[in-house]
Symmetry: C2
Subunit: 271 residues, 2 copies
């Protein structure tokens, strides 16, 4: 029996912070066939609210330190303001969206990051036991479209801030046991570019051999390496393909036109 | 075939604003058998956040005027902070809770209140088409415990602030088509009291005849009249019973001890 198709799409600040981009994206998202899950980060709204409340935003190596006040803010902004407005818009466009944290339905249970040199505060790390695909499958099979924000819980009553990219990837890996899963990261470029200065130079397909070649030729920009490494890790764990593209272009998926860069194929060590 | 039992329980500020009361209640809620739905208001937290943000709280006749800034605050506080912390605690105690607004799953669709003499702003009114019991039934049948906050939507992308008592009552009426539904309002007293100064003088059972008698003898306090009228209206629309009691005592339901005041029986005009 062929597995049901599932698209998991992650959007970040460049979509959320721009109302026009967001509405355009949500319409295209609604138009996609098959099962769908949306994962969203927080964008600048949490930082803005922290400023309004006089709470200092502490970042270490680009990561937000989540003290108890910051956790309160992200719970309000990610779990309330952004998530519920996205859900209301999706309902308007015709998606039967249901807005979630990882605490809801016990869908994503994480462990508070241990304090080593840096105390990240109330940050939750995902492991391979964090997600029970069957429980999320119940929602999908009942016709709902889950919309996850970047908050999880530890199962002992504590909410935890968790990276949205990681949530999207972990959901894709877990759900690929039940569905033929494609993971889509929307970012600011049209895809992985041959020439960083030419937005039209999108590399349409990358398999492990091509990836090696692009790395050797130093065509892939250093900041892209961890993204692509993580993508191939997800593919090695069962995800059918990972697509990296621009949210504006998502509608092209529906019309079978090329969209972004598609990564697929297991690494050699696995084959 | 006998219908599955469903308890719908509404809590307000006197439970939410006191962490000890809240945890005690959530433990007892988890202990109740059968299908369950929790509905919560917002307590003082929204007003506190408005003060922190320098937003004026406007009340008319005890009702909050919901301008766009206030809607932003209640979406964060009701839909995010309070709802998701309750969900995380319920998961900890063992309820498979899932936190919702009326926008999620299109569960509660309302109409923005028309402006007559007063503009209440982004406030949604429930009517008899607001709730599709089958869609909520899918969640209940899949083993989830819905936790609703006091926010709904109009189906056109707009979130709306909606009275939590009214949500609880409308859910009870709609779901009584599918389940044998008991609606429980937790408030600050142990029930409807014979003597307002004696907390132990709880009237255990009130049917329509008894209600008439209590009204004639002026035993029922004027503030209780709209609550009880609404309760009997819900019963006339199919709800099995409405119970009014103190959240601390909810555990007595489980142990089959008397809890609060139970209203049941249809009004004479209906029989």
């Amino acid at each position: 029996m062929t597995k049901q198709q599932l698209h998991i799409i992650k959007i970040g600040g460049n979509v959320i912070d721009n109302s026009e981009n967001l509405h355009h994206f949500l319409k295209d998202f609604t138009g996609l066939d098959g099962y769908k899950i949306l994962v969203h980060g927080g964008g600048k709204v949490a930082t803005q609210l922290q400023e309004e409340l006089g709470i200092e935003t502490k970042m270490v190596d680009g990561r937000r330190i989540t003290d108890i006040e910051t956790l309160r803010v992200v719970t309000m902004v990610y779990g309330g303001l952004i998530n519920k407005n996205i859900v209301a818009q999706l309902q308007h466009y015709g998606s039967n969206a249901i807005g979630l944290t990882g605490a809801d339905g016990n869908f994503i249970r994480t462990k508070k990051r241990p304090v080593k040199t840096i105390d990240y505060g109330f940050v939750g790390d995902i492991d391979d036991k964090s997600i029970d695909p069957e429980s999320i499958g119940k929602l999908l099979d009942a016709g709902f479209t889950p919309v996850f924000c970047a908050i999880t819980h530890n199962g002992e009553g504590q909410l935890l801030n968790t990276n949205a990219d990681t949530i999207a990837s972990a959901l894709a890996v877990a759900l690929s046991k039940l569905y033929e899963t494609t993971l889509i990261y929307c970012f600011e470029k049209k895809g992985v570019l041959h020439d960083i200065n030419d937005e039209e130079s999108v590399i349409r397909e990358i398999d492990p051999a091509k990836y090696e070649e692009l790395k050797q030729k130093q065509i892939i920009h250093s900041g892209m390496l961890p993204k692509l490494d993580n993508a191939f890790t997800a593919i090695n764990c069962g995800v059918k393909a990972v697509v990296i593209g621009k949210s504006d272009d998502l509608g092209q998926l529906k019309s079978k036109q090329p969209f972004g860069t598609t990564l697929s194929g297991k690494l050699k060590a696995e084959s």
